[in-house]
Symmetry: C2
Subunit: 190 residues, 2 copies
């Protein structure tokens, strides 16, 4: 079995992890089974058991793969444009039920998924913080700001609505969250 | 059976709902059973089945009871003091595993608990928004602010850390979140 990118092994992994996400979105974590994932991916279930073990391993590997997939950091020329692009993308991903929502729900039932999701968010926050670092370099934000904390402030209102208060999110909510984070950064709070 | 406050029926309800929260915190939603709740509350399980039905009814009624319990809105004299009091209380409640954390986790598995939790947060946000209304009356914040949105901004970073990125929360994080919301309100963003 080769593990080089694009080889058969990589193609099997792609198919199985995509099937894991699809099963999760369609049926939820409690109904996630290796059999259903294998059938959906078109591979034999012993292949899945041998390579991953069980559903928690599948889910953790899917999250790791997503984390390792390059994410294009917005670069619009202004911190407003960049942070709004980040929050609008989040609002779009979480606006309706689907894979991202199902993954967060699964993290409350699978400690392994919770750990993988924690690593995912840590990585994404670090990447998104580049837009704040650039803003400081351009003189748009004061030098003492904590770049990751600005990203947290911009993103938090969206997750809070979707997963805690279960209120709707849209582009208006996303833009306001980004502008609020920038206002806090300019006021020297973060 | 009487339903007057403080009567036997009210005492049974208090005992059963307290036992529901305790079982949830100790064992989680998937392990929540009417039998365990009844045993813990010291009542016969047929009493529970007759009055509530099942665990989802118990959990929804527990959340409704918590929502109806008066919550003392902070009144320190300044919007900074009031909003910090709100966020520090949240950080304290969610700082370690316990009932509040278990309830949010359960809401991902029980649609009835999710609805009850949504009503709970809507009510609490409305109450907490009184501190923003008072701040506007005192001239601390501009007249056009959305009081509930200021509360959302102050609370969201705490829930985001506890339930999404799984980063720690403490009084410092809570104070910063409150001050960031106030800065956004003063900047006219919300």
């Amino acid at each position: 079995m080769t593990t080089r990118p694009g080889g058969r092994s990589a193609r099997v992994r792609d198919a199985v992890l995509a099937a894991t996400y699809a099963e999760l979105a369609d049926h939820g974590y409690p109904a996630l089974t290796v059999d259903a994932v294998a059938t959906r991916a078109g591979v034999h279930k012993t292949t899945v058991y041998r390579r991953w073990g069980g559903v928690d391993d599948l889910l953790a590997d899917a999250l790791d793969q997503t984390r390792e997939t390059p994410w294009p950091v917005p670069d619009t020329g202004t911190v407003e444009g960049d942070l709004v692009a980040v929050t609008v993308e989040i609002a779009s991903a979480f606006g309706d039920a689907g894979v991202p929502t199902a993954v967060v729900a699964a993290s409350f039932q699978s400690p392994r998924a919770a750990l993988a999701l924690q690593a995912f968010y840590a990585a994404r926050q670090e990447e998104a913080a580049k837009v704040v670092v650039r803003a400081v370099d351009r003189g748009e934000l004061p030098g003492g700001v904590d770049p990751v904390e600005v990203v947290r402030l911009a993103c938090a209102p969206l997750y809070y609505r979707v997963f805690i208060t279960r209120e709707p999110v849209d582009a208006v909510v996303a833009e306001r969250a980004a502008h609020a984070a920038i206002a806090a950064a300019r006021a020297g709070v973060v």
